[in-house]
């Protein structure tokens, strides 16, 4: 009897993706067409269902890895699982934020854009198959390091979303405030800052755990590998952001732009390094997985340059208005 084939249908994952899309559409309907409370509640309930189904997929994948490797392996070992885990974290972050800080369901249509797009990206571009785990990944540090990094990435993704909303709103999209009075500049600015405040120590912890793991696996805690270097760049950008915010009171538009630059650095650390490795043959020891090609690299490059360029443009007039 031969080895059984991995089921091509992902089951829980497919259902989760369908539920995410449906929840997103209902959030959009709630934001733009109907303010009925029940519609908002339906969107949240469906989002929770989607998230639970997504969790079921991870449990199934962890069970598969347990059978294969006789130990717990966090299902974030290839790019499909990693992007999926990232989306899962963002949705979890949003589900916590919605009742605690946002207190409205009208943010959903903006905050969930990134995870929904991420899920579509995994489905279209990536192989869902579980990978053959290389020996260096068989370590309990994988779970600690990756979880810390992804918590920070998810929080920074949400901070980025609110910064983009700030920029849109500052550039005259008053219709956003008509959608909800909470879409005001001061609220968006502080929300995005608070998220960075939570994310930054976790990011620092994640980098530290990665260094400890690298020392144990490869005999060096820092090797200027592209992934490590971009993690440092990301850390430096957010460090500068916090200094500028705390010491120079850089709030508002410039702060939002800086936040966007920081998040592009996060994306390059997370995804772009694999693309850089393929494009420039860098021999990164972290390039475990496939990427999205040069097109994706160009998109990331533009995403980095646009906020930098915007910084030299005249500041919008309603800067600083609450």
């Amino acid at each position: 009897m031969g080895t059984p084939h991995v089921s091509s249908a992902l089951g829980a994952y497919d259902y989760a993706m369908f539920a995410y899309f449906a929840a997103y559409i209902i959030y959009a309907v709630h934001a733009f067409f109907s303010r009925k409370r029940v519609i908002g509640q339906a969107a949240t309930v469906l989002l929770i269902v989607a998230w639970i189904l997504h969790t079921v997929f991870f449990v199934q994948r962890a069970h598969f890895y347990y059978l294969q490797h006789q130990g717990f392996v966090l299902p974030a070992t290839n790019m499909f699982e990693a992007v999926s885990f990232f989306c899962w974290m963002i949705v979890l972050g949003y589900l916590i934020l919605e009742p605690l800080l946002l207190k409205t369901r009208l943010f959903g249509v903006f905050a969930l854009l990134l995870p929904v797009a991420g899920m579509a990206y995994t489905a279209k571009e990536m192989s869902p198959d579980p990978r053959q785990l290389m020996p260096s990944l068989k370590s309990y540090w994988l779970a600690f390091h990756v979880t810390a990094m992804f918590i920070s990435y998810a929080l920074l993704a949400l901070a980025f979303t609110f910064s983009v909303m700030y920029i849109m709103r500052a550039y005259g999209m008053r219709s956003m405030e008509r959608i909800d009075p909470k879409f005001n500049l001061k609220f968006l600015d502080e929300l995005s800052y608070k998220l960075v405040l939570v994310a930054f120590p976790v990011l620092t912890l994640g980098i530290f755990l990665g260094a400890v793991w690298a020392d144990q696996a490869w005999g060096r805690y820092w090797g200027w590998d592209p992934k490590e270097t971009w993690a440092l760049i990301t850390w430096l950008i957010y460090l500068a952001y916090l200094h500028l915010r705390m010491q120079w009171n850089w709030t508002g538009f410039r702060s939002a732009l800086f936040n966007c630059i920081g998040f592009v650095a996060v994306l390059i650390t997370f995804q772009g390094v694999n693309l850089l490795d393929q494009a420039f043959k860098l021999n990164s020891i972290h390039a475990y997985a496939e990427g999205g090609g040069v097109f994706m690299l160009v998109i990331l490059g533009l995403a980095l340059l646009i906020p930098i360029a915007m910084n030299f443009m005249p500041t919008p007039k309603d800067e600083g208005k609450g």
């Binding site: 031969g2 080895t3 059984p4 084939h5 991995v6 091509s8 598969f64 059978l67 294969q68 490797h69 006789q70 192989s127 869902p128 579980p130 053959q132 785990l133 290389m134 020996p135 260096s136 068989k138 370590s139 540090w141 405040l197 930054f200 120590p201 620092t204 912890l205 530290f208 260094a211 400890v212 020392d215 144990q216 696996a217 490869w218 005999g219 060096r220 805690y221 200027w224 590998d225 592209p226 270097t229 971009w230 440092l232 760049i233 430096l236 950008i237 460090l239 500068a240 916090l242 200094h243 500028l244 010491q247 120079w248 390094v273 850089l276 420039f280 043959k281 860098l282 021999n283 990164s284």
Partner: protein
Amino acid sequence: MSATTQHEPRPTPGPLEFIWMWLNSLPIAITVMLVLAVLSALGTVIPQEHLAQPPMGMTMEQMYIERFGQLRYQIINALGLNRVYFTPYFFALMLWLSLSALVCNITRLRRTVNLWMRPPVQRGAGYFKADKRSRQSASVPRGAVEQVVGELKHARFRVHHMKEDGVDYVYADRGFIKRWGMVALHLSVLVLLFGGIYGKALGVEGMIRLADGEKQELVLNLAKNKYPLVKPLLEKLAPLTYQLDQGTFRIDYDKMIEVPGELADVPTELQDYYLYFVKDFVSTLTVEHNGKIKSQEVKVNHPLILDKLVLYQSGYQQLGYLSVEMNGKTKEYPVTPGDWFVLTADGPADPGSAMSGVEEAFSLEAVKAGDLYIGGKKTGYLGPLAIAHRGSMATGETLDSVLLSPDEGLVTRIDGLPATVRMSRKVDNYSDFSYKRDPGIPVLYLGWIVMILGITLALYIPFAQVWVRVEGASGQLLVAGTSSSDDAPLPRRLHGILGIQ
């Protein structure tokens, strides 16, 4: 003499003060951070010498020239962009940032200690007027100051109360640990830097290759390749000697319990080969130093540590042999995976050197040989297995792919005679260890922990300050910090006590 009061011109700062001011400057520090970020990013688009692996038969320089062209390579090389993290300017920027952290830390520590030891209790009326957050009261009730002190103490503030010339002054603060967190955060940068330099200055690292059953003496000369500053000191220290005894090296294989979709189209007879993957590289190593002996299985993520020397399983070579049977005789030849070769009566040869009439060339994928585990259970010995790709010398196309093992092989012709090619049971294993003795590691870890603690305290603990000045019946209140908004419970209670409307 002029009747108007003239301000004394500010004395021109001396060179040291000037440098101190620059090092203490936040704009410069942020600029340096961002320049470091840009330079670091540059190092991730230009292959770095310490990571780059030139293709077989090519030097590093040739690889760069092929990729960038002669002129651009010369520019890159002259600017050191192919080793950007080890250039003097990168080091200078790091040094600047560290000195800046040091200076900032001294300034911050001085301020923090001052605020802790000599809190600014006495503030003049002007101080309150200058701050928009301050509130006034024209009728402070009798005994209000004592009530304020009690209220602040109840709210776990550190309270200082003094009376001078009939004026009551109260200063209180809460969450002072945030200030110490800031100090710790900046101090941690210096600890990290110190740990890194200390490790580089006094540590040693390298690679060693051991064959099965091989014994080697590892002599660590602490002064070798060291900075001139520390070299004379280290030369006085005796070299450290470690005896290494490699028992065996083995590769454990695992088999995927399900076939991934990407292998669905691979022929069944070859599929198994791709389902086997390396579970672990395992060396049975014994190390002896100063009478201490340690023996253990060294694997990736499981280094051997003896007297501060850490030995890591960092690489391996598994060399397989082809067994060629021709004319009733069998000969064995070592093969390198990936390279194309032709078979001659004298063994494998480069296709370029093939005589006319040779029709087929071969290329082998990596040899797989070792203990096989399935679902965590050892099920036997795998291989040696390899897949041989057979190519046509005439067209350059791959004709077919065949699984080779000691029992299965392919039939071909060598010098016109029939021959059978299989995998030999013989396998040579070499194990590569990287070793390190880095006394800076504990310092570095301490630095990281202090940094994370410092960041957490600095970002999450709110620091609140309260000043009260009561002169006769009029009073002034200033609440600064996270609970400074008028409708927060504490300011509201203080307003009530002081009669602020």
